[in-house]
Amino acid sequence: MRKAIHKTLVIAFVAALIVGCTAKGEDPGTEFSPQMYHSTAYEPLSQVVDESQGDWLDSNPEDGHGEFYNSNPYNAHGMTMREPVEGTVRRGKYLPYRIAKDSVAQAAGLINPYEGNPDIIPQGKALYDRFCDHCHGANGEGDGLVGKVLLGIPKYNVGATKELPAGHIFHVITHGIRRMGAHGSQLSEDERWKIVSYVQTLQNQ
């Protein structure tokens, strides 16, 4: 009986030790094979600035920092991610949109590549629901949940807003206007034109 109790106590002790390895709260837990978890190459969405991280299992001490250090000393703040070089052009369908933020009148003449294409409306609506709805409201009445806090969001189908041309809407999504922020970094030009198509149906409702 004594032996059985001793065995049990040993098992309980080991169990308690191992339970301590579990992730909880601030503690990510123990890694099983850390070298397989941590990338040696630069990881754009993670960064380890502390050079001593992973000292205890360093496989190449000659580089002067621990195994887990992942940070590019040549970038500002040691970031592993960089903004594109100014003036570079993304490969794809459209040339970059060059009309400056202040020249909204210039944009009025732009033509929507999806002009008169009703098949694109559902896609525009899907994008509108994800990117515009929370301020402008489901029907473009400025009554979205965030819009009610932000205030000052015009209805699409009233007064001067009703008459705004496609190019103007595209420009405003890209650069923002008055209190609305620029959404060019969140939406491709193609997506912006799809939203324009849908917003124009809301103007005429």
Binding site: M1, A12, F131, S185
Partner: protein, 436 residues
């Protein structure tokens, strides 16, 4: 001791009377709102036709930025005709920027006072603008009534009684269930005492002491000790095995972030779509941590939480990161990144692509990330182990609807099998799909 049925009767009475009380409460708030609106409609001084035309124009075109007695985006407009000439107002409403450009002193002053926010130009006729001004005059004349409407129609004052009602209901429910438990306990106790009394009577008083002596000898018996050791060992082993499987699994990891950002407020209360900030989720491998320019789309103007004045210390951390001055609405060049702590650390040996799951398979974010719209601080919800991935790939039907890419695959699959096509049928279990 009170009789149990009396207690039950009292509880029932309390319980059934509450809905009546609650109903009265919510009714009274409705009555208040109605009466306030009624007061507002009494007006004889101004031509009612002009006022109603002005009201319509005001509600559609001005109300988004202006209220009568409260500064919103633009100034409060009550008494505006006493402060400024009608001619000036007409020029301003038609094209405020032109008036500012012409060097008009007051125009420039008001422009600067309101953080250089441009008021949009309105293509309205003289008579339309005059009707709006008449409407504002009539509202100014009803000053007190306007205040009432503002106070009553604001969401907080109406919702408070409802919350009170809910609270009362919960309290009553708790009291009621407490009473029920009490009654049950009393009943059980009385049954036991009755039983004991009978036993005592039968065994002539010695039974209780005998029973205790038996209990002690039973506790010392080998059989009992063996059973205890067995149960303890089983629990310890189970803990050990569970613990061993949790090594390298970060489920439950909930690090403190540099900004006290709440997904519950943004995605839950305000229903902002995940994709609005996590822009890569339908386009690339990573969902992306949003850059602060996306925060600034709303937080240039939303400077504090819960409608409080001033700047919240958490939001000022965004301003510091993008070097933004909320007073001048201008950005500097001294920017620095916000160092968020990564929550989901998939090992470097495994490849995962968000767009394949979210865009192609049209999966909800919550399937893997859990109730993120209820989390103030994000934690890792799923265990993200290989077994977990594989299991889902075995169970999940491929979303082939409206996707031409899958047409031939579905045709071939249907020739061989009557089951719907699972992810494992198109190579979802192949090693090199995720490890290469």
């Amino acid at each position: 001791m009170p009789k149990p049925y009396h207690l039950v009767a009292i509880c029932m009475a309390i319980f059934f009377s509450t809905p009546v009380l609650l109903g009265q409460e919510s009714d009274s708030s409705v009555v208040e709102t109605d009466s306030a609106v009624m007061v507002n409609d009494t007006d004889d001084v101004f031509d009612p036709n002009v006022v109603s035309a002005g009201k319509e124009l005001f509600d559609n075109q001005c109300a988004v930025c202006h209220q009568m007695t409260k500064r919103v985006v633009g100034p409060a407009l009550a008494g505006i005709s006493d402060r400024l000439e009608e001619e000036w107002l007409i020029t301003w409403i038609r094209n405020s920027q032109q008036l500012i450009g012409s060097g008009d002193e007051y125009a420039n002053q008001i422009f600067n006072d309101y953080s250089k926010l441009t008021m949009q130009a309105f293509d309205l006729s003289d008579s339309e603008i005059k009707s709006i001004l008449t409407y504002i005059k009539s509202e100014t004349a009803n000053g007190s009534a306007v205040e009432d409407v503002v106070a009553v129609s604001s969401t907080t004052s109406v919702s408070v009684p409802q919350e009170d009602g809910f609270f009362t209901a919960v309290v009553v429910m708790i009291i009621f269930s407490g009473f029920l438990i009490l009654v049950l306990l009393i009943l059980i106790r009385s049954v036991i005492t009755k039983h004991k009394k009978e036993k005592h009577f039968n065994e002539h008083g010695g039974s209780v002491i005998d029973l205790n002596a038996k209990e002690v000898s039973f506790l010392k018996s080998n059989a009992f000790l063996g059973l205890v050791v067995f149960i303890f060992t089983a629990i310890a082993l189970k803990t050990l095995i569970d613990g061993a499987f949790s090594i390298g699994v970060q489920q439950g990891y909930q690090p403190t972030q540099p900004i006290n950002y709440s997904h519950k407020v943004h995605a839950g209360d305000f229903e902002i779509d995940c994709n609005y900030c996590h822009t890569g989720v339908k386009k690339s491998r990573s969902a992306n941590i949003p850059s602060p320019n996306i925060c600034m789309n709303c937080h240039t103007d939303i400077k504090n939480v819960g409608g409080q004045d001033g700047i919240s210390p958490e939001i000022s951390k965004i301003y510091a990161a993008v070097d933004y001055n909320p007073d001048t609405r201008e950005y500097g060049t001294n920017t620095k990144p916000i160092e968020w702590v990564r929550v989901h650390n998939l090992p470097d040996l495994a490849y995962f692509n968000h767009s394949q799951h979210v865009d192609v398979a049209e999966m909800e974010c919550q399937t893997c990330h859990g109730p993120i719209q209820e989390m103030d601080v994000v934690y890792q919800y799923s265990n993200l182990t290989m077994g977990w991935c594989i299991n889902c790939h075995r169970e999940t039907d491929v979303n082939t609807k409206g996707n031409g890419y899958y047409d031939n695959l579905v045709e071939l699959h249907n020739e061989k099998s009557k089951e719907p096509m699972k992810v494992e049928d198109i190579g979802g279990l192949e090693c090199a799909k995720c490890h290469y």
